[in-house]
């Protein structure tokens, strides 16, 4: 079988898996639709912004939860931002943990918050790895002379 077709098939299957497992939602499709010949790296650009933003916010959250006196409003503001950016790129599972996180903030539940921080770090790490794999597969298709089959 043609190697390009094989690679494309791999890419399509992997992407479908990410959607099925809830890592990505329709908003990610929206981003792919915004990519074209004049903006060929759009998705990578936006996702990179998301990575940078998230890492900064996760650091801030860890620091805030280590304080002697917890500033729940500050934590809530950071989680609100993370929730917003994850929903903007379609990182559904990260977004869902943020919703739970904000509820614990409102209840001023320190244990709940710490648990959520751990969870959101995990989910972020997972989606980051998966998106990086996705981009690698795209590069392989392009390098083999194929085209990326978006939008579907």
């Amino acid at each position: 079988m043609d190697s390009v077709v094989l690679l494309q098939r791999q890419l399509v299957d992997y992407t479908a898996q990410l959607f099925n497992e809830g890592f990505l939602d329709d908003q990610f499709n929206q981003l792919q639709q915004l990519q074209d010949e004049s903006n060929p790296d759009f998705v990578v650009e936006v996702v990179t912004l998301f990575f940078e933003d998230s890492e900064r916010l996760l650091n801030e959250l860890a620091k805030a939860l280590e304080q002697q006196s917890i500033d729940y409003r500050k934590i809530d503001a950071h989680v609100h931002q993370l929730k917003g950016s994850s929903s903007s790129i379609g990182a559904q599972r990260v977004q869902k943990v943020c919703i739970a996180f904000r509820n614990y903030c409102e209840e001023r539940n320190i244990e709940g918050c710490q648990k959520c921080l751990q969870q959101v770090k995990n989910e972020y790490s997972l989606v980051k790895t998966k998106l990086e794999t996705l981009f690698k597969l795209e590069q392989q298709v392009l390098a083999a002379g194929g085209s990326i089959p978006w939008p579907m």
Binding site: Q33, D36, V46, F50, H80, G84, S87, S88, I89
Partner: protein
Amino acid sequence: MATHINGSWELGAKMTALVVDDDSINQTIHHRLLEQLGIENQVARNGKEAIDIHCSGKKFDLILMDRDMPIMNGIEATRKLRAMGIRSMIAGVSTRCVKQEIQEFMEAGLDDYQEKPLTSAKIISILHKIHHSGSISY
């Protein structure tokens, strides 16, 4: 989907828009969404920048106004723009879904409100609300 869209008024002039948002991810996405629809647009990082741009004489057909921003938020910026006599279509954009909060934002002078994240479909629905002597074909 809708990538070949003519963002022009019937008279042939290009539509213009202002994206007001403090978040770089939203700025990038909203800018590109509008660009793909053929709408020339620029970005302001907060309400104050939006006001300053208007004070410099620039006008836009559409303003996408984020609610929560530092220095000057979307509610205050909308009020100020209306007080300045700006009649552009202002669509409030936010993640907030509490009725009261949406109401408060609308009462500042919005023509429409959309929940984030924005999609091309949402922007098109905003555009359909713009009253113009001609008709927009999307």
